[in-house]
């Protein structure tokens, strides 16, 4: 079995959502820890997409199928409804063409699972407000000058995005310090997991 030490609560939530023996596409799969966990616990058929060459080697070592590509240019050749789940776990903040990627994801996947750090979390808000500095936190560990993230958005932003584009939100979960948040998530949740569909 893989060690689960590299997995976050959001990963376990994703594993809850994913159904047994489903076909998944993990966009921005990194070292493949989540895919491996899903293969072992849910017997899924997983395909990953990853931009880092070193991460590709780690995935191949684990026996995973992975494509060396950026997310933006990796989706157009899949037929419609190729996957039961398309997963964007902590990778959406690095996607350039968000609109196009979501269009493709909802075309090739029956359900999309998205997890991302909430930029409107209270700690980040106060850093900006009281310190007057770009927020740095566990979920956003990099300084402004060396972050791979190009998008900073909140739970509210994402919900608005879904509403505007007509994506249905099927499920949503909010997490803070490895616990679920039920009150005012846009203020108190560090992480969000959404399940959406066309």
């Amino acid at each position: 079995m893989a060690s689960n030490k590299n997995l976050l609560l959001s990963h376990f939530k994703i594993a809850d959502i994913v159904t047994e023996k489903s076909k998944i596409l993990d966009l921005g799969c990194g070292n493949g820890d989540l895919m491996q966990y899903l293969e072992q616990t849910k017997k899924v058929n997983a395909q990953g997409v990853e931009i880092s060459e070193d991460a590709i080697y780690k995935c191949v070592e684990k026996g995973l199928c992975v494509l060396h590509s950026d997310i933006d240019n990796s989706l157009d050749s899949y037929p419609n409804n190729s996957f039961d789940f398309v997963i964007l776990s902590q990778s959406m903040q690095q996607v350039k063409k968000i609109d196009e990627v979501f269009k493709q994801c909802t075309r090739i996947g029956k359900k999309i699972i998205v997890s991302f750090p909430n930029f409107a979390h209270i700690a980040l808000r106060s850093m900006l407000f009281f310190k007057g500095m770009a927020p740095v936190a566990k979920a956003l560990p990099n300084q402004w000058n060396d972050t791979p993230n190009i998008r900073f958005f909140s739970i509210k932003d994402f919900e608005n995005f879904c509403n505007y584009n007509g994506y249905k939100i099927l499920e949503k979960y909010f997490i803070s310090n490895s616990k679920y948040v039920h009150v005012m998530p846009n203020l108190f949740a560090q992480q969000a997991v959404f399940v959406i569909t066309k």
Partner: protein, 375 residues
């Protein structure tokens, strides 16, 4: 480090009769030169076929008796290596049309008793693969664990997928394309013109007399340039501008000139000019795109590992990405890595560490999955 190699090896020969080619012509007798390393297991499930590039041969690992230099992929084939001979039975054969032991234009035509020369029929990548299949069947192997190869070897890998998809568990095409492009064909054509323009070529019937060494050497020089990269050439030949002296005579003043001349003249000792013509044409005609790569009607289950190299400008990464696109469209399981390398096309012979990482794990995991029920 000879102890980590497969040791002393010998080329063997396999012969069969009446081989019908893609163009309908029949070769009355075909010999295929091959080498094997490692042991075929009792159930014959651990066989891996390695296919060689344009000017390669069956000798991909170990040493021939008395030789200083090992086989062409020795860094990747051996105990504990990418193609692990402790676990797998590796077969490598010289292609049909070649000149390293397999039947080709420099072989004797049984009808005339002299070398075929340009009376040799045109051969295709598909013909090469069909001949390889006969060899594999000769070993009693019912399904290959893997077919792997770079450059023209990659063409053969893709052709195996096209022609015998039910016969392979996995495919590793490296630094290759679904279809030869005008640029690739253009380079081949210049090479051919150089050979055919050599007065010694004599329309291909030069055997027994002076051979078109000059033309073949120039073809090789050009080829060699396309296998390197701007960066790898700068690294290899740090420019020290020679003095322009009064005896200026178009000699090899620059290191790179000397190098290419050397590579050209050593190449002609081991390669036949007519084979160069035939094999380069076979590559030019290669096109598995037109027939819908991967037959639609069959439910295929082949695992792919596609590899390209960032600095390869002869078979640029986008061409490998096109292979991946086709596989995605057909729902095939595929892993793709575009290895960062500055070596150009030659990287498939040189990026040992990265290729080993990918290939060894890919084959090991595949074997576990198929035969041991889990990763």
């Amino acid at each position: 480090m000879k102890k980590k190699d497969v040791g002393i090896v010998k080329t063997e020969y396999f012969t069969f009769k009446n081989f019908t080619l893609e163009n309908g012509k029949i070769l009355p007798e075909v010999t295929i030169a091959y080498e094997t390393y490692g042991k075929l297991n009792d159930k014959k499930t651990n066989a891996v076929l390695i296919t060689h590039a344009f000017t390669g041969n069956a000798h991909c690992a170990g040493y021939h008796e008395g030789d200083e230099k090992p086989g062409w992929w020795n860094m990747l084939v051996g105990p504990g290596k990418a193609f692990n001979t402790d676990k797998y039975f590796i077969i490598c054969s010289n292609v049909l049309g070649g000149c390293a032991g397999s039947t080709g234009p420099s072989s004797i035509n049984p009808a005339t008793g002299i070398e075929y020369g340009t009376d040799f029929p045109a051969i295709t990548i598909s013909d090469m693969v069909r001949a390889q299949k006969k060899l594999v069947e000769f070993f009693g192997i019912e399904k290959l664990l893997c077919v792997a190869g770079g450059s023209m070897g990659g063409m053969q890998v893709l052709q195996w997928v096209m022609d015998y998809p039910e016969y392979i568990y996995s495919a590793i095409p490296i630094a290759i394309t679904l279809k030869s492009t005008p640029q690739q064909i253009a380079f081949n054509e210049v090479g051919r013109q150089s050979i055919m323009g050599d007065v010694a070529w004599k329309k291909g019937h030069y055997y027994g007399g002076p051979e078109p060494d000059k033309g073949l050497a120039v073809a090789r020089m050009l080829g060699h340039i396309t296998y390197m990269s701007d960066y790898s050439m700068q690294k290899k030949f740090p420019v020290k501008n020679p003095e322009l002296n009064e005896n200026f005579d178009f000699n090899a003043d620059f290191e790179v000139e000397e190098y290419l001349r050397y590579r050209g003249s050593s190449f002609v000792k081991r390669f036949d000019a007519n084979s160069y013509l035939y094999l380069s044409k076979a590559m030019d005609y290669f096109d598995v795109q037109k027939d819908n790569f991967l037959p639609e009607e069959k439910n295929l289950n082949i695992k792919f590992l596609v590899i390209s190299f960032k600095s390869d400008w002869l078979y640029p990464p986008y061409q490998s990405e096109n292979i991946v696109k086709q596989l995605k469209a057909k729902g095939q399981e595929v892993t793709y890595c575009n290895i960062y390398s500055t070596y150009g096309h030659d990287a498939f012979l040189l990026e040992v560490k990265d290729e080993t990482n990918l290939i060894r794990n890919f084959i090991d995991n595949l074997y576990k999955e198929v035969f041991e029920g889990g990763k």
